[in-house]
């Protein structure tokens, strides 16, 4: 695969479509992600994130014009199109309500659909919510429903992605310990994030390295947990942002790209759709050197090796060089490109919400509202999500300044 960007991926002409309403994030809310929220219903879980986002924006349900909700497969909770039952909980009665499903990237895609409602001036203020309540069933079951005529082969997402990780290791010659470094970093970052699922105070690098292989070459310690959780954001335009009590995060670019699940010549290690999606977002934001211009990234890393893989895919490192950024500490909290200061998907994974959490954490950082895991001086941050067979990508760049200022 050529590293060059597919020319069809990037629209010609102005950086952003002319005349769009600038989109601001003025409210962010999430639940404390845990393996099982036995104290709430499905509605109660979403509600908690939504209420926190409204409180952050100092808005009420009456201020919301529309609701956009996302989650991964309905089989996870066993409720078909659950947005129907959730209308009351999200204050959507008498309002428009859309339900997005783009596999693992859905949290990001959902935020982008909501952002477009504002950008197109269809609505003034939109609530967007994503969730998963995995404790209602079992994620490995949901992801590995037996299909007749097939031999049972994959075991959840780990089994699906492990061969791709091996291909990356082989292609780049990355040393075996890189995956452990990422996992250790993200879990340590999570200690600074009160919403993170895993708070492993006693974790050592040695413990990460010696954990058993679940899907060799992926270790137990390098694998995301299974979480109950929800994330919500309030998106609005220029006037809404002017009324907001706290600083807004401004959207500088947003894009989705898809490619087929399986096809001849697919680069599982660095999918073209991911590269094209990043190129589009950078173009919209006028970013020519992501490594220098972007202050931090919240990247969808469900298995630790995906950090170096996505660093290359997103243009933060040259092909084959991503693992060197990890090894040299560039992606640490105090490195010059912090990746997943929140602890990332490796520390919290309510699947349908995980993408939106990446987007929301990027927004918190440029608003200066990330608390203990705040990166000082963060002005431009990337939120990233992917899903399906590493085929669906959604990303946004958010900044502390208005894009047209």
């Amino acid at each position: 695969m050529s590293a060059a960007v597919n020319p069809a991926a990037v629209p010609a002409g102005p950086h952003r479509a002319v005349g769009q309403e600038p989109v601001a994030v003025v409210g962010v809310g999430q639940t404390r992600h845990v393996s099982a929220r036995h104290d709430v219903s499905i509605a109660g879980l979403l509600r908690e994130a939504a209420v926190r986002a409204l409180e952050d924006a100092e808005l009420t349900w009456a201020d919301i014009d529309a609701v956009v909700i996302g989650k991964a497969p309905d089989f996870f909770e066993g409720v078909m199109m659950p947005e129907l039952y959730l209308a009351e909980a999200l204050g959507a009665v008498s309002k428009p309500m859309l339900r997005v499903h783009t596999a693992g990237s859905v949290g990001g895609s959902t935020a982008l659909v909501a952002a477009n409602l504002v950008a197109a001036r269809v609505h003034g203020t939109v609530l967007t919510v994503a969730f998963e309540k995995q404790s209602e069933s079992n994620a490995m079951w949901g992801l590995s429903l037996p299909v007749p005529f097939q031999a049972p082969l994959t075991a959840g997402a780990g089994g699906f992605f492990a061969p791709h990780v091996r291909a990356y290791m082989r292609r780049t010659g990355a040393p075996d310990h890189i995956g452990s470094l990422v996992a250790f970093k993200d879990r340590r970052n999570a200690l600074k994030n009160p919403y993170a699922h895993l708070h492993e105070h006693d974790l050592t690098l040695e413990k990460v390295r010696s954990a058993p292989m679940l899907w060799d070459p992926i270790r137990y310690s390098e694998t995301c947990p299974s979480s109950d959780g929800a994330c919500a954001m309030v998106l609005t335009g220029v006037r809404g942002a002017a009324r907001a009590p706290r600083p807004a995060a401004w959207m500088h670019g947003g894009a989705m790209r898809s490619e087929p699940t399986i096809f001849a010549g697919k680069d599982y290690v660095s999918p073209q759709a991911g590269r094209d999606c990043a190129a589009d977002v950078y173009h919209q934001a006028g970013v020519v050197d992501p490594r220098r211009q972007i202050d931090l990234a919240e990247i969808y890393v469900p298995f630790s090796w995906y950090e170096p893989m996505w660093l290359e895919n997103l243009g933060f490192a040259d092909q084959g060089e991503g693992w060197k950024l990890v090894e040299s500490g560039v992606t640490e909290m105090d490195g010059d490109l912090p990746v997943n200061p929140s602890g990332g998907v490796l520390s919290s994974n309510p699947i349908g919400a995980s993408g939106m959490i990446r987007f929301a954490e990027a927004a918190l950082q440029v608003r200066g509202e990330a608390g203990e895991h705040q990166i000082d001086g963060a002005r431009l941050a990337l939120g990233h999500a992917y899903g399906g067979g590493a085929q669906f990508f959604s990303m946004w760049l958010v900044g502390s300044e208005r894009p047209d200022s």
Partner: protein
Amino acid sequence: MSDVQNPAVLSAPLVVEFPFTRSTGPVVGAFLTGLRERVVLGIRGSDGRVLCPPAEYDPVTAAELDQLVALPGTGTVTTWAWNERPRPYQPLDRPFAWALVRLDGADTALLHALDAPPPDSGDPRAVRTGLRVAVRWADRRTGAITDIACFEPLADGSGSAGGER
């Protein structure tokens, strides 16, 4: 060889089955606790109306609700549908009516099965809108909507407490 080029259509059964474990949250939990104890609960909405089944969030204002109200196990059919051929897993395995029942003291209706004679059967207990009904409790109650086995017509229309079996 020939059947490979023009193959028979293949098909196979696919069963999607899981024992979902649902955490109820406080309001639904209280409702189901009540059912286990043979008490039907409603909840007071923002406008003072009593909603049964209790809503966690108000259908109009989206406000979080928390004022539970105990209701008698009797009510009135607001609409119904005669189900001549029950389907798997439905509450009764003989012909029954689906009914929306507004319990006495409630302003909204609960959906459940109604074990009554068919419409136009000439029986005064036959299903119809406005029929007075009572809860028939399940023998074994676990804290689920199926703790109500079904509704049944009130013999005398007096509105006395629900029948038990």
